[in-house]
């Protein structure tokens, strides 16, 4: 399914993400790495001293769409595969990969690139390449057999 090119919205949304990173960094001294924040409220060793601030960040993420719906009256357009195997495999790989690499699109991609971390630059190039190759295989090699 084609999507419309939205440079202005994407730039503005990106700027909001940047503002969030700045707030967390300069006010709380923390990196806005979402896989890390989510991981720290999970077992086996829950980060107890930071539990409520990490949970509050997650709650903020969950409240975003309801807020958009409240003010605009429109549900944001979203489309996802309905294939349960792909959903499960994708979720598992994202969880395992982000925890192993100690970061995802936010921690390595946004925060890491912003502070010019060598580790994060390598991580970002690696996951962008792997993701693009995966989509290429799914769409152009398997030709939409699985979607």
């Amino acid at each position: 399914m084609e999507t419309e090119f939205t440079p202005i919205n994407s730039l503005f949304g990106g700027a909001l993400i940047g503002i969030s990173v700045l707030m967390l960094l300069l006010l709380n001294g923390r990196i806005a790495g979402i896989s890390g924040i989510v991981s720290s409220v999970l077992p086996p060793d829950v980060n107890k001293p930071r539990f409520f601030e990490n949970a509050a960040f997650i709650l903020g993420l969950i409240l975003a769409i309801p807020l958009v719906v409240f003010f605009s009256g429109n549900t944001p357009s979203q489309a996802i595969t309905s294939n349960a195997f792909l959903l499960g495999a994708g979720g598992l790989l994202v969880g395992i990969g982000a925890a192993t690499a100690n970061g995802c699109t936010s921690g390595h991609g946004v925060c890491g690139l912003s502070r010019v971390s060598k580790r994060s630059i390598i991580a970002t190039v690696t996951f962008m390449t792997a993701a693009a190759v995966t989509v290429f295989i799914l769409r152009h090699v398997l030709g939409g057999v699985v979607s």
Binding site: L24, G90, V94
Partner: protein, 143 residues
């Protein structure tokens, strides 16, 4: 105060993901589909975010402490190892398969896609499994 900052930061981050299109798996997959129906929009998300946050890291580097804390918790690890490379590659494959990374997956919980619960359940399982392995001696061990 730190909790209120985190809540507002999470909300702004989430709004950014929704407005930018990052929370729409179809748009993410089209961004990654360079040789197909390529939608380059999401490059602008990265550009917008980094343009704002990069100066903050320079400022933090020259500051003693954050407003509501005693120190900055910024990673100091510089090691490029197999965990970083294989972990990132694994993450990228999962991101490509569904078009969701952790932030958008959580944001999508209150959206229109019921399928998200399957993705989230497996993502959380993956995080917990690796976290458990890291706490024990072995290839994932952090000590």
């Amino acid at each position: 105060m730190r909790i209120i900052v985190s809540l507002i930061a999470g909300l702004i981050f989430g709004l950014g993901l929704v407005i930018s299109g990052m929370a729409n798996p179809a748009k993410v997959q089209n961004f990654l589909d360079v040789f197909g129906i390529w939608d380059p929009s999401l490059a602008f998300v990265m550009a917008g975010a980094i343009a704002i946050s990069a100066p903050g890291f320079i400022f933090a580097h020259h500051s003693v402490k954050p407003v509501f804390g005693s120190e900055f918790n910024i990673p100091t690890n510089q090691i490029v190892d197999q965990k970083l490379l294989l972990g990132s590659a694994t993450f990228g494959i999962g991101w490509g398969i569904v078009g969701l990374c952790p932030g958008p997956a959580i944001v999508a919980l209150t959206g229109s896609m019921s399928e998200i619960v399957v993705f989230l359940a497996f993502m959380i399982a993956g995080l917990v499994v690796v976290k458990t392995l890291k706490s024990e001696p072995g290839i994932f061990s952090t000590t």
